[in-house]
Symmetry: C2
Subunit: 557 residues, 2 copies
Amino acid sequence: MTTIAEIQKHLISRKLDACIITRGNMFLGQDILPEENLLCSLTGFTGSAGKLIIFRNRACLLVDGRYDIQARRQTDPASVEVFCTRDSLGTWIQHNVTQPCKFAYDPWCHSIAEVDFWKRVLTSHEFVETPPEFPAVRPSERDAEIFELDERFAGISADEKISYLTKFCADNNLDAYFIGECDCVSWLLNLRSRLLADTPVLRAFALVSAAGGVSLFVKDFDKLAAEFDTWRGKTIGLAFNRCPKKIQTLLRDKHVRCVNIPDPVVDWKAVKNPVEIAGFRAAHRRDAAAVCRFLHWLETNWQTADELGVVAKLHEFRAAGENYYSESFATIAGFAANGAVVHYQPTERTNRRLESGSVLLLDSGAQYLDGTTDITRTVAVGTPPQEIIDDFTRVLKAHIAAADALLPPDTPGLVPDTLARAALWRFGKDYAHGTGHGVGHFLNVHEGPQSLSLKSLAPLKAGMITSIEPGYYKENTYGIRIENLYLLEETSVEDKPLLRFEPLTMVPFDRRLINKALLSPAEIDWVNAYHQKVLTALSGFLPAEENAWLQAAAAPL
Amino acid sequence: MTTIAEIQKHLISRKLDACIITRGNMFLGQDILPEENLLCSLTGFTGSAGKLIIFRNRACLLVDGRYDIQARRQTDPASVEVFCTRDSLGTWIQHNVTQPCKFAYDPWCHSIAEVDFWKRVLTSHEFVETPPEFPAVRPSERDAEIFELDERFAGISADEKISYLTKFCADNNLDAYFIGECDCVSWLLNLRSRLLADTPVLRAFALVSAAGGVSLFVKDFDKLAAEFDTWRGKTIGLAFNRCPKKIQTLLRDKHVRCVNIPDPVVDWKAVKNPVEIAGFRAAHRRDAAAVCRFLHWLETNWQTADELGVVAKLHEFRAAGENYYSESFATIAGFAANGAVVHYQPTERTNRRLESGSVLLLDSGAQYLDGTTDITRTVAVGTPPQEIIDDFTRVLKAHIAAADALLPPDTPGLVPDTLARAALWRFGKDYAHGTGHGVGHFLNVHEGPQSLSLKSLAPLKAGMITSIEPGYYKENTYGIRIENLYLLEETSVEDKPLLRFEPLTMVPFDRRLINKALLSPAEIDWVNAYHQKVLTALSGFLPAEENAWLQAAAAPL
C-alpha cells in the first residue's frame, strides 16, 4: 500500500511540488467502495468528503465542519495537518498556498469545470496530470449483477427516454451526447446494479448518438479512446461540471469537438413522472407501516433495547415489505449524547443501551423497487426533561416553517432553508447541515440538482422530491432531527401558480415531545392536518394492535 | 446633439460593429445630472437604469422589469428596440449577439471587472475604447459648493479615517490606495457637495498614499496621468469592481502596478459609528415629528388635497426641522392607481385629487446633516374597501416577518428578503422590487454593500442601516408599501450572538388599514411594541393637538 512518504519521494523525482487526492473516483460525487478509498488508506480518515494535498514536506487534509473532530481523531498529526474549511479545493489553494506550485492531479477525479477553474484563476500555479507511478483511484474489480428496472416501476421505457435525448441532440446540433454522471445513465437506460450496498446506481458512462445508438461503458474505460476515434471531426455535447477532465482530453486527442451543454437528463430525472410518483407514495405507505410497527414495538421494549438492536429490529419490519430491496443508507440510531453526533452510526464499540430520560434520534430509509424513502424521527425514551421537549417543539416549528410554505415555481432551494433556519435562530439555535436534499427514484437517496441549503440557487419545480430535516444538537447531551420527504406539487392562490410541499412520509411525530403551548394555532393546525393524512394513508395497513397505537399517536393535539 | 444615426455612421467609418452606451458616468452607479444623460438624449428614455447597444443597422435598449413599459412609451420603435432583461450587459451579449462583433465602449463608464469579464467570457467578440469622435459622457461643467461635514456629525475626523487607510496600505504592502467610488471619498474626507439635488455626495476620486498624503480629483481628471506618473514602479491598490477601466489603463501607461483589493472604506462607511448612529436617531425623531404633523394635517384636509399638494405640504413640515438640508429623493405620492406604479412621481399632467375609498402611497425622506431618512406610509383616504385593508395587513405581516427576525451576524441580505416575501406568497402576492437597501450617512439614500434582495450575498453586520419595505401593487387600482429604516443591533439568545432590527423610523402605521383578525398574536405584539417605541421617541416633540392625534394613532391594537 502506498504511503504519503512514498508520494513525497515521487514528487521530488518528478520535480512536482504537490499532489491532489480526493475521496472519490471517476463517478464524481457518487459513493465509493472501501477498496477505492485512497484518501482513507493514506490518512485513516473515513469521512464521506475530504481532499488531501500532499506537499513535499507536509500533507494538508481539508474537511468541512461535519468532519473536523473526526478527521483530527483519525489522522496522525505528525504526518497530516487537518484544515476545517467551507472553501472548494481551488479557493483553498488560492488563499493558502502563497508560493507558486506545480500540482499533480488525477484527471479522472476532477470535473472539466473544476480543472478549468484552477487554470483560469490560480494562474501563479501549474496543474499537470499525475505521472503513472503515483497511486490512482480506479474502480473496484468486483463483479455485480446489472439488472433492468421494470417499466411498471420506471414509468417510461429506456427507448422513449433515449428518444428525448436524440431530439435534444438534434435541437442542439450535436452528433452525440456524452453522459458523465452514472445516476443519469442509470435513469436513462432503466438499468441498476447491485455493486454498492444501499445505492442501486449502475456506475457507467454512456454515449448516445443523435441517431439513438447507445454505447455503455461500465468497467472497460480503455475502450473509450477507440469509441471516440469513430467520432473524429464530429461534435459531442457534455456537461463540463459533470464529466471528468480525462474525458475531454480523450475526446480532444481524437479531434472530437466538445461543447459544454448542461446534461438535460439531470432535470428529467429530478422531476418525477406519474408512475414514479405513484411508486413513491406506495413505497412510503409500506415504509411508514414498518416504521409505525417499529415505534409500537419500541414503546414496550425500550427497557431492553440498545442502538444496534434498534437498527436490526427496524430492518426486520422494513425487509418484510413488498418490493423491498435494501436500506437506502446505513441507519443512524443515536441515543442521548450519540444523537448529537450528526453522522453517528452505532458500532459494537459505541453501542448504547436505551434509558429513561432522553431521546433516540433515528434516521433511516429503504430502497424499494418503486421508490426510495428517508425518514428521521426523534423518539422519547421514558420521560425526557422539559428542555428536550421544548427543543423538539422548536425544531418542529422550523420543520413546519419550511413545509407549510407556498413558493413560486423555480424558487431557489435556499428559500425554504432560510424559513426553517430563521425559526430556530429566534431561540438561539441552528444546525450545521442543510435543511433538505433531493431524492432519486430507486437511485441515490441524496440526489440533486435541488437542495434546500443556504447556498443553493437550484430552482424547485413541481414533481421534484425533497427532504425537510432541520435539527438541533446539544453536544454530549442529545440530538433532535425531524425529517419527512415531500413531493412538490402545483397549487395556486388567486390565480398565482405556487408550489406546496405534499408529504410522502406518513409517520406521526412523537406527541410526548410536543409542548403545545409553544406552537401557534396555525402550527397546531398543520400538525393535526398532517396526522390526519397519516391516518388516511395507513388505514387498513396495520394489524389491530399497531393500528390502535397509531390512532392514539396521530390523534389531534 | 448627437443622434443614433450619426453614431452608426461613425461605426462604419471606424470599421466597428457596435457601440455600448450606459446611463452613467465615471462615478459608476451614482446619480447623474440631466446634461450628463447621453442615453436619454439619444433615445428619450428617462429611467434611472438602462444600457444601449447601437449596431450599424439597429439599436437595442436593455432595461429591467421596472422600466419595460416606460421605455417602450418613451422611445421611437423605428429606431430603438426595447429588451426587458435581468441580465447584465455582458450576459445579454453572450446570449443574444451570435455573430462575432467589434464593440466600442467608453472606458470611463465601465468598471475594470466588467470589461475584464467581457474579454474573458465573450471571446468571440472584440472590445475596444470608443474613438474620439464618438459622443462621451463627461461630468457637467456646473460649479457647486464643496463643504466639510462637521466632526460633531461625522463622528470621526478625516485625519483619523485616513490613518485607517494608511494602516491598510501598510498591511497590504501598498504604496497607495486609489478610491474610485465617490461616496467612499466623501465619507473618508468628511466632504460633501451641493451639486446633486438630493444627494450631498462629492463626486471625486482620491489617491491616498501609505504616508497619508491625499490627492483629490474633482473635475480635473486630466491631472490623473501626471499624478500617476509620480508613482511609476510603485504598487497601488484599487477595487476592480469599483473603478473605471480607464483608471487601470492610465496607471498601466505609467508603469504603476495595479493590485485588485476590495475597497475597505465600503465596510467602514456601512457600519455606522456611535456619533452617526446618534445622529440618525435624532434625525429620525425630527423626521417622524414632521411626518406625523403631515398625517394629522392630511386627516382633516384630504378632501381638498392632490398629490402635488401632498408633496409640498410634507416638504413644508420637514424643511422646518433642525439640520434639514434637502429631500433625500423626489417624493413619491401616488393616490389609488398612481400608487400601483412603483416609481411614480406626480407631475402636473398626472396629478390626482384625493378621493374617499382608496389609499395614498407616500414614499419620502430627507437629508439632515446628522442623518438620512426614508419612509413609506400607505394612508387610508376616506373609507377604503375591505380588500385594501386586507392587502395592507398582509404587507404588514411581510414587513414584520423580516423586521422581527433574529439573524446570526453576517447573514446574507437575501435571508430577510425571503422571510418577507414568503409571507406574501402565501396569499398569492409578491412585489417586483427588493425588500430593502442600505442607507448612507448624509450621503446616498441607497447605499450598499448590504441589500435585502434575493440575490444579495452581502453579509449583514451590527451597525448597518437598512430599509424594510415590502409592498403589493394592484395594477390600475392601488399600491401598498410599508417602509421603515432599521439599525442592525447586536443581541443574543442563550449566548448565541444575533442581530436584531431596531427601528429608526418612528411613525405609526395607519390603524384604519389593519385587519387585526389577520394578524397572529405575535404580530399584534410586534405592532404594539413598535407603536410604544414611537410614543416614547416622540414624547415632547409634537404640539398638543398633533400629540393627541399621535396618542390615538399609536394606541395598542
